[in-house]
Symmetry: C2
Subunit: 491 residues, 2 copies
């Protein structure tokens, strides 16, 4: 396995694409815009899923499953929602193929045309709210806190592995509440879960904020988001949580009898994170040698590579290593002892570096004699010699230290790339030369936002939740503004 990875400084985008493929995370399929998630990539996604699922369940959510298909008429019921999703969807029009009469192969059977076209779900608000109408009658049926793990399809024209694919995997939560306040609190609770997950598990620092009107989810009253910063200075929206007001309840006529017996429309939220997180994970930590994975999400946390000649030496090494493997596994640490004799140690070192395994142990004849291991950490690429008697403790320490270190490193980079500017000239200069988030005053109008986007390709990523009140003037219009917002070019 030669790495031959393009350097980030040469071509960041090419580096990313190569890395995702070479590290066996995913690849393009024969179906335009649809990816294959390979076992190593999927194992990371499974760990993300397990952790998020646990957090959702701990906060009272249950999983369910709703249909893949959405009748065209459902999509149309919420006006801004259909505007947002009709333009890029997969449309099922027929339900049968048949043999062509001229023997040229199989063709669509025109006799099997659907009366109403079905859309492959781009998101499930409509089909779910059509269902909730049957489930909700009284305040006793509320809140309804449901999540779904599913595949969705949005017909993107330009796609990139994990970051933008026609089909992707995600979770979508859809909750129903008796009051506006409770729904807003739910949207905020989920935003907190997303931020905690990103920072503590993915080791990706995020900024919590709300979207401007033009960047809001189609059908939402308020969109909360977490925004991360990639190593090329571009932002990536890592998760969104929407307060939907009563929009979908009104579109699908979902009412409940309150405690006084009065009929009211239900309040709603929806929220999701997707396999896009995989892209954020790769782009935040990895380097020119390959993936760098946070220990909490690494499918293999520790790999042990024996250095030997002949089966006898390998057997000797195994006598020392086998009990270590057992001990580490008993502590819940995932270990691989790579005894393959088809590949040389150097090849294996490269491979595990490329795949981002956090800790690599090597053990040869001299180590065996000295009672030591060579311990290498992936994040810093540093090596040390550790006594066999202390290696378990050292591994436990390193797993935590690596998790902490890559988070700190990413946070430092992110913090250094939030630049306050007070003029449009400065704005353009920083965007061009430094990138990252630009903190500036904005007059609150879509007009200004659109002009900046057209002229610079930067968008307002969010209005940070913890932004301080500060009197200022919009960098474009000079009109008064009471807080700064964050601009950036984004994925």
């Amino acid at each position: 396995m030669g790495k031959n990875l393009t350097k980030r400084s040469e071509d960041y985008s090419k580096w990313y694409n190569e890395l995702v493929v070479k590290a066996d995370m995913a690849e393009n399929s024969g179906v335009r815009g649809c990816m294959v998630i390979k076992p190593y990539g999927f194992a990371i996604w499974e760990k993300m899923q397990a952790q998020l699922d646990k957090m959702f369940k701990e906060t009272g959510h249950e999983n369910a499953y709703f249909p893949l298909f959405i009748p065209k008429s459902y999509l149309s019921k919420e006006a801004s929602h259909v505007e947002g999703f009709a333009k890029e969807c997969a449309v099922v029009t027929h339900y049968r193929l048949k043999n062509a009469e001229d023997g040229s192969g199989i063709i669509v059977d025109e006799d099997a045309k659907l009366e109403e076209e079905l859309i492959v779900r781009p998101t499930s608000e409509t089909i779910i709210w059509d269902t909730y109408r049957k489930w909700i009658q009284s305040y006793r049926d509320l809140p309804l806190l449901i999540n779904q793990w599913a595949n969705v399809v949005r017909w993107e024209m330009r796609t990139r592995l994990f970051l933008r694919t026609a089909e992707f995997l995600w979770q979508e939560g859809h909750t129903a509440h008796a009051t506006k306040q409770e729904a807003i609190e739910e949207a905020e609770t989920i935003l907190n879960i997303y931020a905690t997950f990103a920072e503590e598990h993915m080791a990706v620092p995020v900024i919590q904020g709300t979207k401007t009107e033009s960047e809001r989810f189609a059908g939402a009253v308020e969109t909360y988001c977490i925004e991360a910063l990639m190593q090329d200075g571009k932002a990536l929206q890592a998760g969104t949580s929407h307060f939907l007001g009563q929009n979908f309840a009104k579109a699908f006529d979902v009412k409940f009898a309150n405690k006084e017996g009065v009929q009211e429309h239900v309040w709603a939220t929806s929220w999701g994170v997707s396999t896009r997180l995989m892209g954020a994970l790769v782009m935040t930590h990895s380097d020119d040698n390959g993936l760098v994975l946070p220990p909490t999400l690494a499918p293999i946390q520790v790999v042990i590579v024996p250095i030997y000649k002949g089966i006898e030496q390998l057997d000797e090494i195994a006598e020392t290593v086998d009990p270590l493997v057992k001990e580490l596994r008993a502590k819940g640490i995932s270990v691989k002892f790579d005894k393959r004799d088809t590949h040389k140690p150097g090849f294996k070192f490269n491979e595990y570096e490329l795949k981002g395994v956090p800790i690599r142990l090597a053990i040869g004849q001299r180590d065996l004699q000295n009672g030591t291991y060579e311990v290498a950490r992936r994040d810093t690429l540093s090596k040390e010699t550790v006594a066999a008697s202390e290696v378990v403790d050292r591994i436990e320490f390193l797993l935590q230290d690596i998790q902490k270190n890559i988070f700190e490193k990413a946070r430092t980079y992110r913090d250094e790339h939030i630049t306050r500017v007070d003029s449009y000239e400065e704005f353009k200069k920083v965007l061009k030369n430094k990138g990252g988030f630009i903190s500036a005053h904005w007059d609150g109008t879509t007009e200004t936002e659109d002009r900046i986007k057209e002229e610079t390709k930067a968008t307002i990523r969010c209005i940070p939740i913890d932004a301080e009140e500060e009197e200022g003037e919009c960098i474009i219009s000079g009109k008064p503004s009471s807080r700064r917002v964050l601009f950036a070019k984004a994925y």
Copy 2:
């Protein structure tokens, strides 16, 4: 919650449909043939998934994810495969909707017609083998042991919740091997996993066998299956494992260099179980009072219902119950203490009976004074009084005993419904009056099989793997036969 459940003896089919809906497992959606799996039903499915996933991983399989869509031309590459799946599939022909010019709503945008239609996967052999061509070059790349959890679509005309739905959830394993023998062993290993899962976790006794040529999977050389018997005497195919020979490797040109450097086509298997298992679970154990769930798959294993007047009595009960709940949870037992004051105990008793909760504890003032609980088991509907000091032990015993008891009950029923017949007259009589499996000699021809199917609707469910050699004569043609096969009407 009034049960008002139709009795099995009145209308088995109606009983099933009502039960699935009333027990909050699933319901029909607004999309023809697609179901909504409700949280309670989905929680059971999640437990099934977790156990199966564990068994797959323990035997060396990894999960991955392949595209939802299959280009029409892929489906055509394996001749018998396309015959089997082209007739009932969802076809995506367009990728955009637009506003109708006459303002009548949104319509398909004819400018956005796909050059090649995409089929929503009915199963993934074709897209996966198109991918494996890139992954397999050498014997070192084999075996490839991959599983996928996914949704699939088959456009069934008559659908029933869980048993036959247009969209369903399943796992599909797809493996590649260097030798025929190894592929056959893989197919058999998986059949064993399915049988173990069905019997030990679902408590559903199954017969392992192989399918006749006409019942084989489209593209398989051999289809192994597990067959269960429902309480109405009809069989249900609960899982299949296919030895695919080199059919897909040839159709997609997947070759490997063997140890001698010679190019050979790869050997394959595929195997799957689906949400259909949910139907088998319901129909095997449940009764006229509702669901009966095996403790291993029950989302709630123990429910505790307090019987009280006023908050003071409830508080007193909680003082006793709270530590019990803690103790049970520490043992990994899932417990619900239902303190809702919006519903009476009788209502709750009915609800948990309907939902198949294996053990119900009730505790009122007298129990509190006596230091006892009333313990009811769902399978036998029997009650006993148990001292609080012994209740944990009793619960642990009962969870095992219920699991064992419902399996034994189902196995006794199944065994009593395997009838050996030696003439077609007898065959028809047993089929009409008793149902179940009919063990009979068959001459091995599709002609005979078809005639029996046409005349009686019974099909050959399987050639049992453990069938004894026995000289006999086909009940239709009188031709010689060397072993009996199992016939039944089936779901």
